[in-house]
């Protein structure tokens, strides 16, 4: 990769890569958890997945990233340029914050410089040499985000990354994620149980139920979006109604 010296390493937009899932079936021992699912995500789109607990959201992400093997169906995705952020930060406690971010860079050149820049991007430069155990929950999750971003992924999968954070930290993190996404233009597939959050962040909200996709809503509202926007609130209400009607 050619780089001009004046430009920072992590600022360049990497662009997104598409996901094409077709006829996907995933089962553990028992009935399928993902049941003949089709999903196409355009390059650079921000798509959220909502759905009741146990409907298969995590399993879908884990299958896309290669942690679970499908029974049937195909997934077309560039896994080398894909990263995942889990609900727990999963930092290695025996490495300092910066080294944890470096681990996300794989064998890219200038890994430490990239990591330091990415850490600055998430606002944690001051904590570079701190142990992860000494950070707050929100700070740890920001380090996890930096570790995912440092390799300039073209696809980022999020599995309820903000689920364990308090309301204010959530909003800050949402802004941060939207911010990096609009700058780096990766494709984002974002699992959340918070419909408001999904509507706020996404171009499109997909609802799952019992391993299938049961609704698919475009969110045409322009960005930047504001919390409490009336148009967004209407869409959120509609999706919530669907969610409540769908489950048994």
């Amino acid at each position: 990769m050619a780089q001009t010296a004046s430009r920072p390493l992590v600022e360049q937009a990497s662009g997104g890569t598409p996901i094409v899932v077709s006829g996907l079936v995933v089962a553990f021992d028992g009935p399928p958890v993902i049941d003949n699912l089709d999903l196409v995500v355009d390059p650079g789109a921000f798509v959220s997945i909502v759905g009741r607990s146990g409907c298969g959201k995590s399993t879908l992400l884990r299958t896309i990233i290669g942690l679970e093997a499908p029974q049937r169906g195909t997934i077309t995705v560039d896994r080398d340029r894909a990263r995942i952020v889990f609900q727990e930060p999963r930092l290695l406690p025996w490495f300092d914050v910066l080294t944890n971010v470096v681990l996300g860079a794989g064998d890219l050149p200038d890994a430490r410089e990239r990591a330091a820049e990415t850490l600055a991007l998430v606002g944690l430069s001051a904590k570079a040499h701190e142990w992860p155990t000494r950070l707050s929950g929100g700070q740890r999750q920001r380090v996890a985000l930096a570790r995912a971003l440092v390799s300039q992924p073209r696809l980022l999968l999020f599995d309820e990354p903000l689920g364990a954070l308090d309301a204010l930290t959530r909003i800050e993190m949402q802004r941060l994620i939207e911010n990096v996404w609009s700058r780096q233009q990766f494709t984002a597939l974002f699992v959340t149980h918070d419909v408001g959050e999904a509507v706020m962040l996404s171009d499109r909200v997909v609802m799952m139920d019992r391993g299938r996709i049961v609704s698919d809503t475009d969110i045409p509202a322009p960005r930047p979006r504001r919390h409490g926007d009336a148009q967004l609130a209407t869409i959120e209400g509609r999706i919530l109604d669907l969610l409540l009607a769908g489950g048994s």
Binding site: I65, G66, L67, D80, R83, I84, F86, E88, R90, L92, P93, W94, F95, L103, G104, G106, W131, P132, T133, R134, R147
Partner: protein, 284 residues
């Protein structure tokens, strides 16, 4: 009631008196907790009691020589070279046994934890051998290897093998699976995953194994040298017994104690350094 006779005497409770007693006790307690001399208090008292006992003749020298006599014996044996030579021999025996048995235990523990095949092949046998007390092997070891170095190193090696095997096995098996999964999706290969996730994750447990092993190492050394040796600290103790030199006997006991303390302190320091990321070890 009769049972009350064993309880504390009852007094009319004056709340102020109770409060101030509690306060005094708290101050005393925190002074004890704060001072860096606190850990030395009990040894100093014991030493003073020992010295007093010897000085007044309550402790005859044939039973327990005075501390000064022990020190003098130590100084003389150091000057004529007996003590340094035997100490070096004992230490190198101990370390050789540790190196052989410990390395084997560490490597086999890790290997059986990682590989299901190796686990099924080796673990049942190792678990069965574990229940054989090391010192029960002594007659056999002496029969096979005589009373030379090989026998002692074999006994020490056998003793330290098991704590390292068990703890490294347990350490590797209990590494957080979610971290291993993270490492895999972030593109770490098998070796990188082992170096960066598995090994550091197993390290606390491995260090516990090393501490147990060091304790057993000295124990096995003492047994080996007392039963069959023509050099070493244990041999010195045996010789001293034959000539009723209680000062040398006590000296060797003190030396064994000091060696144990030394290795324990060293492992604690290693723990603090290697596990400083872990809030349970970092600041102490």
């Amino acid at each position: 009631m009769a049972s009350l006779a064993y309880g504390p005497p009852r007094r009319a409770a004056d709340p102020r008196a109770v409060a101030s007693r509690a306060a005094t006790r708290q101050i005393q307690e925190s002074r004890l907790a704060r001072s860096r001399w606190t850990p030395l208090l009990v040894p100093a008292l014991l030493l003073a009691g020992w010295e007093a006992g010897s000085a007044t003749g309550a402790l005859p020298a044939s039973v327990l020589p005075a501390p000064v006599a022990v020190l003098t014996a130590g100084w003389q044996l150091t000057r004529d070279g007996t003590l340094p030579t035997n100490l070096a021999i004992s230490a190198s025996r101990a370390l050789a046994g540790l190196a052989v048995g410990g390395t084997l235990g560490l490597l086999l523990g890790i290997a059986t934890a990682i590989s299901v095949g190796l686990r099924r092949l080796l673990d049942p046998t190792i678990q069965a051998l574990r229940s054989v007390p090391p010192f029960a092997l002594l007659p056999l070891i002496i029969l096979w290897l005589g009373i030379d170095e090989g026998a002692k190193i074999a006994l020490i090696g056998w003793s330290v093998f098991f704590p390292l095997y068990l703890n490294s096995y347990h350490g590797v098996r209990s590494v957080d699976r979610s971290l291993l999964e993270m490492g895999r999706v972030y593109g770490m290969g098998r070796t990188t995953l082992f170096r960066r996730v598995t090994l550091p994750g197993a390290l606390p447990s491995i260090l516990v194994g090393i501490r147990f092993a060091l304790g057993l190492m000295w124990l096995a050394l003492i047994v080996a040298e007392t039963i069959a040796a023509s050099s070493g600290i244990g041999y010195m103790a045996n010789q001293a017994r034959e000539f009723s030199q209680t000062d040398v006997i006590v000296l060797t006991i003190v030396i064994y104690g000091a060696l144990g303390k030394l290795t324990d302190t060293a492992t604690r320091a290693a723990e603090r350094r290697l596990l400083r990321w872990n809030p349970a070890y970092g600041e102490r």
